[in-house]
């Protein structure tokens, strides 16, 4: 009997939350209210951050792979930046960008660097030497070699980094609700926490997780389409050389099951140990949200 009670209570709760979600999904004519506009804002903020992060990480990674001495200081810089609490960075941005999207996008893009940069560099470094030498010997110029050989061979590792970075960014966007942005985070903060009401919090969490899963699936699909040559179970010569590191805890969990053929990902903490900042542990590897 007690069991039936629990089940019916749970069911009522689910119905209530779903009902709230459906009722508040969108209010036509009122773009500031409703769940849908917030979901769209969430997507806009996270995707733009990731794209901006990638746009910065690629040339930065290319430079670091080319001039090896540049890499340790740049990586340390990126790691230190990552240690700045996101809330602080959002508030610091306010005087410059006001309440525009950039207030969230710039800090979030900077945070993605801690994952994307090592992946771009590792991706380029794991291009086997004999492949690079062959490209030189075939008569590729420097730029052509980079664009036609080295970057394409690095793509699986770069996409692996993108997967971790995108899932982490999607979960972190919510924090920007403290400065009036934050997409689904606003459901959690304004509608849920401040009004002591659980339905918006649950809807916010569920939609965030779903968005993260869908984004990850899209990236997996993109990798399959972009790199048909790396789709396989067994290990090849290039695969064996690939540095596989543990992805950061939270992100991997949110990211859902990882397929076996995913290339290795560099954890933000891993490289930092090498470059001398000693305080990197499980804590720093975990993305906050």
């Amino acid at each position: 009997m007690v069991g039936d009670r629990v089940i019916s209570d749970s069911w009522d709760w689910i119905v209530r939350v779903t009902d709230w979600g459906v009722t508040n999904w969108s209010h036509p004519g009122e773009p500031d209210r409703g769940i849908l506009p917030r979901l769209l804002q969430h997507m806009r903020l996270s995707y733009l951050s990731i794209l901006l992060g990638l746009a910065v990480a690629l040339p930065m990674g290319l430079a670091c792979a080319r001039w090896k001495r540049l890499y340790p200081p740049v990586l340390t810089g990126v790691n230190v930046l990552y240690a700045v609490p996101s809330i602080a960075l959002f508030f610091l941005m306010l005087p410059y960008t006001g309440f525009s999207d950039w207030t969230a996008i710039v800090p979030l893009a900077l945070y993605t660097l801690v994952i994307l940069l090592p992946n771009v560099v590792d991706g380029l470094r794991q291009v086997p030497d004999h492949v690079r030498q062959a490209a030189v010997a075939m008569g590729f110029g420097q730029l052509r070699r980079l664009v036609q050989v080295e970057v394409p061979v690095a793509v699986p590792v770069i996409i692996a980094g993108l997967r971790v970075a995108s899932v982490a960014t999607i979960s972190m966007v919510s924090v920007a609700s403290l400065v009036g942005l934050g997409g689904l985070g606003q459901l959690i903060l304004s509608d849920g926490f401040r009004r002591q009401f659980d339905a918006p919090i649950v809807v916010g969490i569920v939609l965030t997780v779903v968005l993260a899963l869908v984004t990850d699936a899209v990236l997996v699909l993109a990798q399959r389409l972009l790199t048909p040559w790396s789709r396989r179970g067994g290990g090849g010569p290039s695969r064996a050389d690939r540095a596989a590191a543990v992805p950061s805890g939270t992100a991997a969990t949110v990211g859902g099951p990882r397929t076996a053929d995913t290339a290795g990902t560099s954890s933000p903490g891993g490289e930092a140990i090498e470059s001398g900042s000693g305080s990197t542990g499980e804590k720093e590897r975990t993305w906050r949200s």
């Binding site: 086997p128 030498q133 010997a137 061979v153 048909p228």
Partner: protein, 371 residues
Amino acid sequence: MITFEGAAKLYPDGTVAVDDLNLTVETGQTTVFVGPSGSGKTTSLRMVNRMVEPTGGTVLIDGEDVRRRDPAELRRSIGYVIQQAGLFPHRTVRDNIATVPLLLGWGRARARARAAELMELVGLEPSQAKRYPHQLSGGQQQRVGVARALAADPPILLMDEPFSAVDPVVRAGLQDELLRLQRELRKTIVFVTHDIDEAVRLGDRIAVFRPGGRLAQYDGPERLLAEPCDAFVESFVGYDRGVRRLSFFPARELSLREDVVFEDATGADRAAEAVRDKNEPWALVVSADRLPLGWAGAAQLDRAPAGTALGALDLASYGHTFNVATDSLRAALDAAVLSPAGRAVGVDTDGRVVGVVSQEDLGTALWSVTA
């Protein structure tokens, strides 16, 4: 023709990779650079396509200093095969082979047609065109590497230890293929290896490098084995160079005996008599169409009951045979050494027995050709 004129490579840390190299690589021949690691053979090879710039002297192709050519353009005119093949993992077999034609601006259709031609030339199945390198075996990858180097039909082919990463059986197959290709194509090949057997097998001319990047000896393979110029070359060439040198003398010069060869229908008593007359300890039994069956010893023939045919006897294995028309004295000697009768069986291309030769007769022949 590739000419090294006092070519040298000195690294800033004081390491001498190549020291005053003077050498001419003849057009249309295979020249092998061989030596232990650190002897500068790969460095010398890479001077040809400017992957290494000499710090002294010059390298000329047909009389023109390579430094007067644009590096990328120069490299597109020279085929290059690297160890482990160096295939581009993200490109299909066909697109790997088409690399240089595409760089030269041939257009995709023409480049792919050329790739298909080359796949056939190096013995790859057309069905493998759309595969990726990781789906191929090591030997197949190396074939793709060779095809890619030949794609734009360059007159010069540089091969940097191309077969060292595959197992010995596959390697032997690839060496045969290269010899066959070279008979067809007559490229100017410079081949780097640390394996003297590979050098002797493939090279028209062999340059032996010693540590410190100095050329120790530059000669044809037969002469290199016969007359190593000093103790280093002698030890590098190996202690059995005398036997290996026999590969360069054809077995067709040998005089083979036919009088101890009997068909299996012959009576044992008749064979016993013939063998006794000639004081020969063994008779070779062959089938009616002269395929070898095995050896019968003189004592065994004497013991056989009257009327027994040779085919009914319990014969000793004839071991392995040598082809009189195509094999070398080395193969004949090997066959004789391994034969239970101490005699080698010479056959024609169809495997029919031409005659036999004993170790003693072989010894005399060796003496006369190698002396």
